[in-house]
């Protein structure tokens, strides 16, 4: 089951809320764990068993690592061996060249451990923190299990430190108003996914699907715009759906996406795109390595390495590495060259160009493909043909709408409206708007019953 499916919206979620609010407060975390178990089983029973083993193993190793804290060297072995095992499992599901390992742990054909990229980061981070003594190992296994497999966090996170998670879980804010807010956020995410991302994917495939490798410049630009915006809306839509669901149960987790596309600096773009994951790589890869790097040059190399790894985490192949290094290098150069008082608009334009380029590298399977794309972009295959004009005609409106909603202007406008005197009355439009959006999205999912991940699978 995925969030953007009829079964989730009209079956699982309402039923989960009903059960959750019917149960006394002290049992609610246990209920959430049972619900998360059912959610996992809705992929396959194998996945549920896998998750149970994974949770038990990491929970036990956290406890053991803490228990052995005095004997540093044994604790290190316990920690390191678990980290290696977690990473091996991650590779076995995500990298085709490691799928023999998935076979070894008896994964049935075609079963994917959903969200494994995310919860591996969580598990490893916590293990390292416990080992370093920055974090106490969780004794409550229900809560630790929720840390790994709470269903609203399964697909996209946010990845966070255990202490942050603990704080959020300690003070849930439940109630009808909270549910309403959560549902509004959920529907916003659903609309991002079903209306914007899915349609942008159609434009993207329209540009690149044909066997003809000649792509005129206009089509190529449309294709990159569709890819960048599409991947943004798919991921941030997923994040919103997860965050909305969490809110319904009273938990407010950190935000993943903070309007990265129209940033005025590359650095901001990179930091606003899936912030928790970027922070994870900073905390556990970049900072420890930077401390040990002596020269400025070595620090630069470490910086690029951390970005390469971040990119690799998305794709598990070289295109992600290349895109990561490209983005990291752009940030380094920007930090050197950029004076503080550049015009906002120049900043936005070059950030767009750089982020578009990194998206282009990210989407290509080979270097050859990348250069072919660059050739298309500068008009080596002509400026436009009849299919470019067709796409321009069909999709311009969509691209403008997508750009608008990715820019953050809509949020600023909403903030201004809130300050108006009539805000109280105007806010009554919101329930109607949410319901209309929900009906539209339901209709758009009607034929297949769901809207699958199209751009990226984490």
């Amino acid at each position: 089951m995925i969030y953007s499916s009829l079964l989730y919206i009209y079956g699982f979620l309402p039923l989960a809320l009903l059960i959750f609010y019917a149960v006394p407060k002290k049992h609610r975390e246990a209920v959430l764990l049972v619900l998360s178990g059912v959610f996992c089983a809705s992929f396959s029973l194998y996945y549920l068993i896998f998750m149970a083993v994974y949770v038990l193993l990491n929970y036990t190793m956290c406890r053991i690592t803490e228990y052995l804290k005095r004997k540093k060297s044994i604790a290190e072995v316990a920690m390191a061996s678990t980290v290696i095992l977690d990473i091996t499992v991650l590779f076995s599901f995500r990298a085709p060249y490691m799928s023999w390992f998935a076979g070894m742990i008896r994964a049935p054909e075609g079963i994917y451990a959903v969200g494994i990229s995310l919860f591996t980061l969580s598990a490893i981070g916590t293990l390292v923190d416990v080992y370093k003594g920055n974090e106490k190992a969780e004794k409550n296994i229900i809560r630790y299990a929720l840390y790994i497999m709470f269903f609203p966090r399964l697909f996209i996170g946010p990845v966070m430190r255990y202490s942050t998670f603990r704080k959020v879980m300690a003070h849930p804010q439940t109630g009808a108003a909270q549910v309403g807010k959560g549902l509004a956020v959920f529907v916003k995410g659903l609309a991002k996914k079903v209306i914007l991302a899915d349609t942008l994917f159609m434009l993207y495939t329209a540009v690149y699907a044909s066997d003809d490798t000649k792509v005129p410049a206009v089509s190529a630009i449309l294709g990159i715009a569709a890819y960048l915006l599409g991947i943004y809306f798919e991921m941030s839509g997923l994040a919103d759906m997860g965050a909305g669901t969490s809110l319904c149960f009273g938990y407010r987790f950190p935000e993943c996406f903070r309007y990265p596309i129209f940033s005025k600096r590359i650095n901001y773009y990179a930091m606003r795109w899936n912030t928790p994951v970027v922070m994870w790589f900073k905390r556990y890869i970049l900072w420890p390595l930077t401390i040990s790097a002596k020269s400025g040059f070595a620090r630069g190399v470490v910086f690029l390495f951390a970005w390469a790894l971040t990119g690799f985490w998305y794709t598990f192949d070289l295109s992600g590495v290349a895109a990561g290094i490209f983005l990291g290098a752009a940030i380094l150069i920007e930090n050197r060259l950029r004076s503080r008082n550049t015009l906002r608009i120049t900043g936005v334009v070059y950030t767009l160009i750089i982020s578009g380029m990194s998206a282009l590298i990210f989407s290509q399977e080979s270097l050859h493909g990348f250069f072919r794309e660059i050739g298309s972009l500068i008009g080596m295959d002509g400026l436009a043909d009849s299919s470019s004009l067709y796409m321009l005609k069909e999709y311009t409106l969509l691209l403008i709408a997508a750009a608008f909603f990715s820019s953050g202007i809509s949020k600023k406008l909403a903030g201004k409206v809130k300050k108006l005197k009539a805000a109280e009355k105007l806010s009554l439009v919101i329930p109607a708007a949410v319901l209309v959006m929900l009906v539209l999205c339901t209709a758009l999912m009607a034929s297949g019953g769901r809207s699958d991940q199209l751009f990226i699978k984490l």
Partner: protein, 375 residues
């Protein structure tokens, strides 16, 4: 400010509850008349089906299929999706004035199918004629957006013909239809040709079989329905395409059908007819041609020329068969899709001096379709 949040919660959850309850109530429904298909059943629970995920997958399909007011939702989807720039719904392209199937490029002609036909022709004393009929998306492929153009149906058909032996007489239905594309030769809401499309190809086919075609002016064309919605409509429920006409070509002065017997392959025969008007009252109106699906249909006419024809066909031929009745005293129509066992179990092939294999492009990549032709 909390008030609007509470109203949102009540509105969304209320709506979800109504939909969920309605879905629960309609869970027993077996078939959808609008979509003309069987709905997914709730899966049988078993440990292995749970383990590999096939149980939850089918359960979700069941939920989707029985979703409250599904037909209305689907129709709504087809209505709004083109407005946001996405003209493909459920694999169907919604064009200006017709619906077109989009799955053209992923169909690969099956070489073993050609071998089956060659085997059949080799062990057969008479002459084999073959006509592969393109679908509407083959003839009107230029109306599809550029990126959907795959291997054209013309290429698929000629590739298939090339792998047939020289003794099989091939009929180029594609180019005949392509030339006449400004006429009403294809339904707007179905992949298949109209009776007129079939008539245009019939003129060529019957000459190859050694007869003069009946000229168009001899026929009286009856529009038996002006409200036909075909298989592409069933997949989208898109209402803004004009409904289609179903025609019957009558030739009052010509030969008449004297007997029409359908056999079910088990030795039972029932009386049938070329047209089953009762089907016009159902959601599957196209079955008006030749009636319900049967493995073998035996047609005898008032002609006394001792000419016998064996037709091996799929549903494309249903509106084509009536034209043949003016030339043969006996026509036996076999549908491999519904036939039990192999061809020789159902008919004595040596009785016929001519065999016509007539099928739609959909079956060109279908291994099962031709597998029973030669034993």
């Amino acid at each position: 400010m909390d008030r609007y949040k509470k109203i949102t919660a009540a509105a969304v959850l209320g709506f979800a509850a109504v939909m969920a309850f309605g879905t629960f109530l309609s869970r027993g429904k077996k078939e959808s008349a609008d979509e003309a298909r069987t709905l997914t059943e709730f899966p049988k629970a078993s440990l292995s089906a749970m383990f590999d995920g096939s149980f939850p997958e089918q359960a979700e399909k069941h939920f989707t299929d029985h979703f409250m007011l599904r037909s209305k939702w689907l129709s709504f989807e087809s209505d709004i999706q083109p407005r946001i720039g996405e003209r493909i719904v459920n694999g169907v392209y919604i064009g200006e004035d017709r619906l077109l199937n989009c799955g053209i490029s992923d169909r690969i002609p099956d070489p073993s199918a050609a071998e089956r036909i060659n085997d059949f022709a080799a062990g057969y004393d008479g002459t084999v004629y073959i006509a592969a009929v393109p679908s509407s998306s083959g003839v009107y492929d230029d109306e599809l957006p550029y990126h959907l153009h795959g291997d054209s149906e013309a290429q698929q058909i000629s590739g298939f013909y090339d792998s047939l032996s020289g003794s099989v007489r091939k009929i180029d239905a594609y180019n005949i239809l392509r030339m006449l594309r400004d006429n009403y030769i294809y339904y707007r809401s179905d992949t298949k040709w109209t009776s007129y499309g079939a008539y245009c190809v019939y003129r060529t086919v019957i000459q190859k079989l050694g007869f003069l075609p009946t000229t168009y002016d001899k026929y009286t064309v009856l529009h038996v329905s002006d409200n036909f919605r075909g298989n592409l409509y069933n997949r989208t429920l898109y209402k803004d395409i004009m409904p289609d006409l179903l025609d019957i070509y009558e030739y009052p002065d010509g030969a008449q059908v004297t007997a029409c017997m359908a056999s079910d392959g088990d030795g039972h025969t029932v009386e049938s007819s070329l047209y089953d008007m009762d089907m016009l009252e159902t959601s599957d109106m196209y079955r008006m041609y030749l009636g319900k699906d049967v493995p073998v249909l035996d047609i005898e006419t008032s002609l006394n020329n001792q000419r016998k024809l064996l037709v091996i066909k799929d549903s494309y031929a249903d509106c084509f068969i009536p034209f043949l009745t003016q030339h043969f005293s006996r026509i036996t129509v076999v549908s491999p899709e519904h036939m039990k066992g192999v061809l020789s179990d159902n008919v004595d092939v040596s009785d016929y001096e001519q065999t016509l294999i007539l099928f739609g492009i959909e079956n060109i990549g279908n291994t099962g379709f031709f597998s029973g032709i030669s034993s």
